[in-house]
């Protein structure tokens, strides 16, 4: 009972912390927007007399002192209003949310590939460290980590699109609308378009996760409980998978979850190579065309993703490992 209460208080404090971080991100976004963007120029263009500008400025409430404007911005943020894109003339959040499914499905595809390969490869390298296969996997992953993700993409396109013509080189292909979610996962064409970008994105995460799984497994295999399990007659496979791997997943969730920022950066690079119409591609378009409201909304959105994943990782770690609550919540 006490443990549950301690756990709940931990979750509560973690949520308050997350809200505070979001508040800080919003204040930074507001400062950036104020420093870089002139909403009047966005609405009127350059060739409008000063008197008319003054009038509109007063009408829009832009002459208010900055704390009032900040309060307005925060108030808008709570209701999902973060400004209007100057390129698309639509609410920025709407523009970004429309691109979110593309990025999400790319990351999903890459994560599946990473999970499918990194766990078996990492476990194998940990339990058979001297095997030739394990050494090969480790040197290949050291090699892979040296190749920038955009070059992997370019090489894959050169080979499979330009020379062999097996897979399309850019775009999402045919998509299907499910409510607000535009998915490419339900058509053969969409899946075909996903393969190369997902492979590219996974190529940079795979070496990292193989090393992570291997390291976590090696740590677990050194513990006494592994020897005990062996002694009571459990098979090798059972000890590796049911005992050691299960415990190794905890540090994996914690460290893997902290890679969100890196993942977003690599997704941005992959989207650029494949002209994948996701959030990163949109962000770079906003940067080249100086769409300040869209840029700041992207920052807030990425910050939100970052805060949500970190909070979830912390709470999941708590559920997987009850020891954390006893130390943290007192």
């Amino acid at each position: 009972m006490q443990a549950i209460a301690a756990g709940l208080s931990f979750v509560g404090r973690r949520l308050i912390q997350a809200a505070l971080v979001m508040l800080a991100i919003l204040i930074i976004a507001f400062a950036v927007k104020n420093a870089l963007g002139d909403p009047l120029r966005e609405i009127l263009g350059e060739a409008v007399p000063e008197a008319q500008r003054e009038e509109l400025r007063r009408e829009l409430g832009l002459d208010a002192p900055w704390p009032v404007q900040l309060a307005r911005y925060l108030g808008g943020a709570v209701t999902g209003d973060l400004g209007t894109s100057t390129i698309y003339k639509r609410p920025t959040l709407e523009v970004i949310l429309a691109k979110f499914p593309a990025s999400f499905e790319l990351v999903l595809g890459a994560s599946l590939i990473v999970l499918l390969f990194s766990v078996p490869a990492g476990v194998y390298c940990a339990v058979r460290p001297r095997a030739r296969g394990a050494r090969l996997i480790l040197s290949l992953s050291a090699f892979g980590i040296s190749i920038p993700v955009f070059l992997t993409g370019i090489f894959l396109i050169t080979l499979f699109s330009v020379w062999l013509g097996w897979f399309p080189a850019f775009g999402r292909g045919e998509t299907v609308r499910l409510g607000f979610w535009e998915t490419g996962l339900l058509t053969a064409d969409g899946l075909k378009h996903l393969i190369l970008p997902a492979l590219t994105l996974s190529s940079i995460m795979l070496p990292l996760f193989i090393r992570l799984v291997r390291g976590a497994m090696l740590d677990e295999l050194g513990h006494d409980y592994v020897r005990t399990a062996r002694a009571k007659g459990a098979s090798h496979l059972r000890v590796w998978l049911a005992h050691a791997l299960r415990n190794a997943l905890l540090p994996l969730v914690a460290v893997g979850g902290l890679q969100v920022g890196t993942l977003i950066a690599y997704t941005l690079l992959t989207e650029t190579v494949f002209q994948w119409p996701g959030m990163g591609f949109l962000f770079l378009e906003a940067v080249t065309r100086a769409d300040i409201p869209l840029i700041t909304t992207y920052l807030v959105f990425v910050g939100l993703l970052f805060v949500i994943t970190n909070t979830i990782v912390d709470i999941v770690s708590l559920m997987l490992d009850p020891r954390i609550s006893l130390e943290g919540a007192q």
Binding site: A35, P148, T158, V162, G261, I264, A290, F306
Partner: protein, 306 residues
């Protein structure tokens, strides 16, 4: 006698190289690339920054070993008729300069902070460690992308192009100081507990003298190893930023810019404009990483078992 003395370290080095042919190969590759980049103005047949010297009629020529090539252009030309060999030499130069300077900034910020944290301890230590943790939890590449994107959106592409080198150096340099701070702190804590440091303190040496004259020279090995891998990371970050159009401009291309500007030509069949600079970039990155691993084994034998 003296000849033998000279030969011994050389022989030791050769022995080490023979034991690690990969590292020896990496060192040679990096030496060749480094020299070629350093003497680019002497080697390059054309100044790739001088837009007036290109002829659009030469655009998109293939490398010398392919059909339709021109003997004047060893590795072919890009979309503007720029000699690719010259562009790669100068581009490598820019990539290496940005990488080395950025790591110098990382070290200049991180090492003093790490040393102070280790030597002072207490609240100073907590503040430095916490700041390092927070900064590393935000992805450094993402922070660099955001910083340069805001510069570009706020100041315009022209100003960004003009100050691209210092901006890249500062952004990549500031983003990754925590690695140096952590390594310096951990190593300095071990040293600070040793007898010779306590003896120096008992003799009345000042804190600054102890840290700079006694502790720093003894923790150089892990810092050198770290610096090597950080150079690879900084070169990769520069290439990524330039590829996104947030780094070096097309008029002054680094390897990343060359890869990006050649990318449009790839679907027209001119793969070499992208692939050749890409191969040079990979050669640099792999050489630096392999060399870093070898240095770790050489300088820091305790960790070599990993």
């Amino acid at each position: 006698m003296s000849a033998a003395a000279v030969r011994t370290p050389l022989r030791a080095l050769l022995g080490f190289a023979a034991g690690r042919p990969g590292a020896a190969l990496a060192a040679i590759a990096l030496g060749v690339i480094g020299l070629a980049a350093a003497f680019a103005p002497l080697i390059a047949p054309q100044n790739p920054f001088d837009l007036m010297s290109f002829d659009l009629l030469d655009a998109g020529l293939p490398p010398a070993w392919l059909e339709g090539s021109d003997p004047r252009f060893l590795l072919g030309t890009d979309a503007q008729g720029r000699d690719l060999f010259s562009a790669i030499l100068y581009g490598t130069r820019i990539s290496l300069i940005v990488g080395l300077l950025a790591v110098a900034i990382q070290a200049a910020i991180g090492i003093p902070l790490g040393l102070v944290a280790a030597y002072r301890g207490g609240s100073v230590d907590t503040a430095v460690t916490r700041a390092a943790d927070i900064q590393l939890s935000l992805s450094t590449l993402m922070m660099a992308i955001i910083a340069l994107a805001l510069f570009r959106a706020g100041l315009g592409g022209d100003i960004l192009s003009r100050y691209a080198v210092p901006l890249l150096v500062v952004v990549i340099g500031v983003a990754e100081w925590p690695y140096f701070a952590r390594t310096a702190r951990a190593a300095a804590q071990v040293e600070a507990a040793k007898d010779y440091v306590r003896a120096a303190r008992a003799l009345g040496s000042s804190g600054l003298a102890i840290v700079s004259r006694h502790i720093l020279p003894n923790i150089l090995s892990p810092l050198i190893v770290l610096a090597t891998t950080q150079v690879a990371g900084a070169i990769m970050a520069e290439a990524a930023l330039s590829f996104l159009g947030l780094g070096m401009p097309v008029t002054k291309p680094s390897l990343g810019t060359l890869i990006r500007s050649g990318y449009d030509l790839m679907f027209a069949g001119a793969w070499w404009v992208t692939v050749l600079p890409g191969l040079v970039l990979i050669a640099v990155l792999i050489s630096v990483n392999v060399l870093g691993d070898a240095l770790r084994d050489l300088l820091d034998p305790r960790r070599s078992s990993r």
